[in-house]
């Protein structure tokens, strides 16, 4: 487990917590998580089959964070994401078809096949981009928050980053600048204990909460695999930020189920780490809670069918979509004259 963790998700009992969510609200969160999970499982298969080129980094096991945050953000809010950002994009409202077409390298993809998995962005949805550079999203979100502040949009900037980014210098600069200027920005650390192929406990010595405290930024560390806790906490923090309270830090303890990238044999990792996975997996946990709240298995089964149909359709649409043309891509380097 990450050394900075105050919470051990593996000890949490599924369905034990009494959340504040209605069955409808929790079902919406569950649906978002399930969409991300099934999408990434499909991508894993497509990658293995050679239909997804390049590198992909899956967030399987971490969906509660994307879904929880997505449920409390508005369209005008902006997010900067990471290389493990599929869930963030979908939860912020990036169209599933445009997403699949991008990751599969099609002209009709949300970025016309220019970026792929590591660069999914949709400015119209406030998704400022996944990012291939660890930590690079932090100053981008800070700058976006500056624009919200100066333009008085009422919007909030959110940056997702992993615990692997804690050792990047821009974290410290970004915490300082956002505190100094009281910017409307939320720092969301998805702490899965791994910095690519190395345990973060061997890479970084300072708990994030203490770092935030040093900058005078309120910080909370939560069980990032409980979607209700994530949604409730994020909702409260975003509301405080929106009211002019300045930056907040939210550390979500979670677990990376897959390797750093698809195809990573993870020889550096003890398989025992994942043996109790079902107890901490955010999806069965939310399903148990739904059951407690009286949502029937039939409803969940219908949801599964519905989502698989959406993913099947998106996959087929991407397969049928045209491949990008080289000449047109060259025209996107600079803004055309007259625009």
């Amino acid at each position: 487990m990450p050394s900075s963790s105050a919470i051990s998700p593996s000890k949490a009992r599924p369905g034990a917590r009494k959340g504040s969510n209605t069955p409808e609200a929790l079902l919406a969160l569950y649906r978002q998580m399930l969409l991300i999970r099934r999408t990434e499982e499909r991508l894993s298969q497509l990658f293995a089959d050679g239909e997804v080129p390049g590198f992909i980094h899956l967030s399987i096991g971490q969906e509660a964070i994307a879904a929880g945050l997505g449920s409390v953000l508005e369209r005008k809010d902006t997010i900067a994401s990471t290389h493990r950002g599929h869930g963030h994009a979908l939860a912020k409202g990036v169209d599933l078809n445009g997403f699949f077409q991008e990751v599969m390298g099609r002209e009709t993809g949300v970025c016309k096949g220019r970026g792929g998995s590591m660069h999914v962005a949709d400015m119209s949805a406030g998704m400022l981009g996944a990012n291939g550079i660890v930590g690079a999203g932090m100053p981008i979100a800070v700058g976006s928050a500056l624009a919200h502040q100066v333009r008085k949009t009422g919007g909030v900037g959110v940056v997702f980053f992993g615990d692997g980014a804690l050792a990047e210098g821009v974290l410290h600069e970004s915490l300082n600048l956002s505190a100094l200027w009281k910017l409307p920005v939320l720092f969301v650390c998805e702490n899965n204990g791994w910095s690519e192929f190395s345990p973060t406990s061997k890479q970084f010595v300072a708990p994030l909460g203490k770092l935030a405290d040093a900058f005078g930024i309120p910080a909370e560390t939560i069980d990032g695999n409980d979607v209700e806790i994530v949604a409730d906490t994020a909702g409260r923090l975003v509301s405080e930020i929106r009211k002019g309270g300045g930056p907040r830090v939210l550390e979500c303890i979670t677990q990376r189920v897959r390797g750093h990238y698809e195809g990573d044999a993870q020889k550096y990792r003890d398989p025992a780490e994942l043996k109790d996975r079902d107890k901490i997996d955010p999806l069965p946990r939310a399903a148990s809670r739904l059951s407690v709240l009286g949502v029937s298995d039939a409803v969940l089964a219908a949801l599964e069918t519905e989502i698989m149909a959406e993913i099947d359709a998106a996959t087929e649409a991407a397969r049928a979509a045209p491949l990008p043309e080289f000449v047109a891509a060259q025209a996107d380097v600079y803004t055309p004259a007259g625009v």
Binding site: T78, A80, G109, V110, C111, K112, G113, R114, G115, H119, A121, D122, M123, S124, L128, G129, N131, G132, I133, A136, M138, P139, I140, A141, V142, G143, S144, A145, L146, A147, H148, Q149, V150, R151, T153, G155, G157, G169, V170, E173, S174, N176, L177, L180, W181, A329, A331, D332, V333, Y334, T335, V339
Partner: protein, 324 residues
């Protein structure tokens, strides 16, 4: 007509842009209350307020990274890096983020931002406060790079850079800040990518930019005394650069020298020489010769820096050599 200093022209351009467009904001180290280490931003805080004119901590990576995020969210930030040398710390935000955003997101939007970078030696500032690193940026698809030499261009290129929808690297030679010129009261914006003929001539062409323009003009004066009429082209923009204007001049003079203060090896001059050797080969009656700084860090002591900086004598020698 009125006499105007280069530094005031930049200041006026920033002020006029801020007055016209509320989305233009300015931030950087010591640029607000102190008015900037070279005075380029003096008075802007008083005129436009602390929301739009901000002192930042000494955090170059985040200054430029925040400019990227602000530009993606509806602002037009102009940020200053105190000395061009310090931009090494901010390269990710410029090279991997700003330069690529338009392309890698499929042309969804542009990143309208300006990064101001004071460069150049001659003031014994030493190896980490004197470098001319513009070739780094001209090498990156997605960036534009401008380097005004005249007072009028300082104004005109700053306005064009702020208006440009793409990220622009604005390179300002520190030795030019105090320069005075008579300029029209109503200065226009200057189109990015267009060179100008700073001195017409028929015998050889010197292509140059920034403070080296004045070195080239001095060399042209010397050569005029020898009966050699040199045409001097001030590039003004380095990316994109005015290939057509250089080729046109070469087609009249048939001799080409490229002069700049930056290190000669792998520099702007190498690109110009290589392109002209290709598309202008039939026009050439002599070798293309580059004049730039030697392949060493900028030295501190006056005698050393004097030896380092390309001077008019070296530029004149290069012209004589290509005419020989």
């Amino acid at each position: 007509m009125a006499e105007l200093r280069y530094v005031r022209a930049l200041n006026q351009a920033l002020s006029d842009a801020m007055a016209e467009d509320p989305s233009v904001i300015v931030f950087g180290e010591d640029i607000a209350a102190a008015g900037g280490p070279f005075g380029v931003t003096r008075g802007l805080l008083e005129a436009y307020g602390e929301d739009r004119v901000r002192d930042t901590p000494i955090s170059e990576a985040t200054i430029v990274g925040a400019a990227v995020g602000a530009a993606m969210t509806g602002l037009k930030p102009v940020v200053e890096i105190m000395f061009m040398d310090f931009v090494a710390i901010a390269m990710d935000a410029i090279v991997n983020q700003a330069a690529k955003a338009r392309f890698m997101f499929g042309g969804q939007g542009s990143v309208p931002m300006v990064v101001r970078l004071p460069h150049g030696g001659g003031v014994s500032a030493g190896p980490q406060h004197s470098q001319c690193l513009e070739a780094w940026f001209a090498h990156i698809p997605g960036l534009k790079v401008v380097c005004p030499a005249s007072v009028a261009d300082a104004y005109g290129l700053m306005r064009a850079a702020i208006d440009d929808p793409d990220p622009v690297i604005m390179v300002e030679n520190k030795a030019l800040y105090a320069r005075k010129e008579d300029v029209p009261d109503d200065l226009p914006a200057v189109e990015i990518g267009k060179a100008r003929i700073a001195r017409p001539g028929r015998d050889a062409t010197i292509v140059t930019y920034g403070a080296a323009l004045y070195t080239a003009l001095e060399a042209a004066d010397t050569l005029a005394g020898e009966g050699v009429e040199v045409e001097v082209i001030d590039l003004r923009s380095l990316q994109p650069w005015d290939e057509a204007a250089v080729l046109e001049s070469l087609s009249r003079t048939h001799r080409l020298v490229v002069a700049h203060e930056a290190v000669e090896a792998f520099g702007i001059g190498a690109e110009i020489a290589a392109r002209m050797a290709d598309i202008g080969f039939d026009e050439l009656d002599g070798p293309i010769i580059r004049v730039g700084a030697p392949f060493m860090p900028v030295p501190f002591a006056k005698t050393l820096e004097q030896g380092y900086l390309p001077d008019a004598g070296r530029v004149a020698d290069a012209v004589r050599k290509t005419l020989a």
